[in-house]
């Protein structure tokens, strides 16, 4: 039977031992959506002309958060990401922003948590910048889209 790898035989938390794992190229992509009032989205987009900083701030917050993941998630290994990308785009529904992240590493552990953390913090940063006008925003669908590399190989999210 499958077991939770982050607990030892006594059920106690530990950082999983990856000392003897191979160094391979790893990649993970994640996403999140923040839903908001249509007027809120309009303000964000308007702020983008000519050099409004809303989306840029969220993008940078996401990138920096990816680098802090091991400091936030107790049992995550520290690692030196070789690439982080955070893309934000207005939702087709006119009432959301979609966040897509991708992290890469040449190392011994996967980077799923880094991609998920980047997406979450980018979404929270949008919330912060718009909360004066819209406190009812909701972050939904924070999930892993795909991972590559490592012993378990490739994984893709089921269609939703």
């Amino acid at each position: 039977m499958s077991k939770l790898t982050h607990l030892d035989d006594k059920g106690e938390a530990r950082m999983v031992d990856v000392t003897s794992k191979a160094v391979t190229e790893r990649e993970a992509r994640a996403e999140a959506t923040i839903r908001m009032a249509p007027e809120t989205l309009r303000m964000i987009i308007d702020g983008e002309h000519p050099k409004g900083d809303v989306l840029a701030t969220a993008r940078i917050a996401g990138i920096m958060a990816a680098k802090k993941t091991h400091d936030l998630i107790p049992l995550c290994h520290a690692l030196n990401l070789t690439s982080v990308k955070v893309e934000l785009s207005p939702g087709a529904d006119g009432a959301s922003v979609h966040i897509l992240t991708r992290c890469k590493l040449s190392g011994q552990t996967g980077v799923e948590m880094e991609a998920l953390t980047a997406a979450s913090v980018a979404a929270l940063t949008l919330y912060d910048m718009c909360k004066a006008v819209d406190k009812a925003m909701v972050v939904d669908g924070v999930r892993l889209l795909e991972k590559k590399g490592g012993r378990s190989g490739r994984w893709r999210a089921p269609e939703q």
Copy 2:
């Protein structure tokens, strides 16, 4: 018309000036839900007997993340929270964990972002601890439930 407070007249990001705001008691409550396979939830709960660390680790990660909010969200003010509470409970649907957070402060700014960050990071920590058995978990409904204190007074999420 309402404007985004975190941008100045040129659309550039800034930390909002709260120098002359009154020090009042502030409180915010937030929530998040992480959906998972029923077997994953069962493993988490089983891990709780007699002293499994899954929920404890997420709880502590959430508390510590609340203290790091200003380091994650670029325009958030640093502040000294006077109370943080993170509660995790298995969902009635047998396929989720619900996270409820509450932060308090006696200060010049609200603590909404701290409550939301605690909820997000607690959820991500659960993802990390269970991802070896269930990569398809999704974090949904990260939102503010209520805020009290400050000039804008009390606010409650629309549907509860």
Copy 3:
């Protein structure tokens, strides 16, 4: 004779005791200039159309660095800034970017180091983003322009 306040009688470093200092409104403004090739400045400015992130990234890096000052400067007191502003503007000479910062606090210590740190890190961030095309950039004139509040009152830089 005047003495270095950060050393005790034995010449040993210490954090100055401000326990009994009054809480007053404090403010500091600082500046820095990064000199570069005219083509480098042109690239930065071009990047600004329509939503290039060079100046936005430096601006946000400066704001976040102000919040980390006590973590960088060993004897600085931790404090909760109430306002941070970082402004970047192309130099009139067509070969530099000028950085102007302002930090505010209602507290027991001055915020000079926060304003200087914000200016330095904003300048270094510009260096980072442009170093692939211009490694010879130089950061000059990092200095305090003005401070207000506290027992020593107002101070302005000699030549402005």
Copy 4:
């Protein structure tokens, strides 16, 4: 034509992808100068007898800051420096302290930003320790002196 590597095609900030870059030995040297009143320099030097902590504190602050570079500069890769050296020496003009830094790494990215950050923070730390007696100090000439390793090979600052 040369382009800013830290922006993608849309002008958006990203962390440059170094996943497939070779691991090579890299080294960077940087410098900074802090100008001050002659009496300020005299106090620093006097503080050095027999075990004053001014220069030691700046030296250590510079070393620690080098390790935090990726946390300060948004698009910098986290990396594990293999060597950091920070040297401070009184200027021949009797009114300045000169800071020389050298960082080394066996890795996929250069360490220019680490050397520059160490120099800047060492200078700011001197400012902090002496600001009670000399607020008009100015940090000048923060620049890269030399870099070695990596695909672009060796680079030396123009005038030395």
Copy 5:
């Protein structure tokens, strides 16, 4: 009967709520001793002539660690220390260094953990700097000596 304040009724960790506690002047003193071979102590002391950095480095590490306490101890409140002092002195036995710390705050919570953390990290820093010559060093007697302020008033360690 007395209960552990950091656990709620269900035995779950929480940050104790101090929102309504009075702001008072608080102070805590702590100590630690690191025992070592006599030759190791001799090297440390020799390094002090004329400006060796061993004790200075430990002193600064202790001061900086005090500021990071809330980031290390999960349920500690973040707070803005108004004073930190770390004193190191060779033991009378010729085979140890004694560390004495004192932290102060004008705030709602005690600073015992800050004083203890400063002492521990100063001791560990000495270990780090001398471990190439003496791996058998032992840190002993890390304890609180005295606390003042707050509702529980003054407390002194039993035997001094």
Copy 6:
């Protein structure tokens, strides 16, 4: 004669250059003991039924602290631990908790400081959680038990 490796010829602190050291598997084990009143230990153990968080919180604090070691100890190299384990067990004397840590790395430097830091911070976290009922607790015997790997090979603490 043996010399302190963290000081250069002038007695100044530096981060030791490990650029050309071989990457080998490294491991370190450390321990610490926190002595307390018998009633305090009883409360901790009682808190463990069925899911009290005292030992879990200390365990997680120790693991997270290991990852922060280079941020606490000024001359420590940053490194990416591949495994961290923190075990806490009630002392046979009924008046203490014993902490045992083990860190692993595939890298160029030893992980002794990481194991010692994990043990120290786990002990301090226990102090924090129990200080409301027992301020006289003392942390003793923080020491390295064993190290393996690297040029100097295996080392074991003298008396075990």
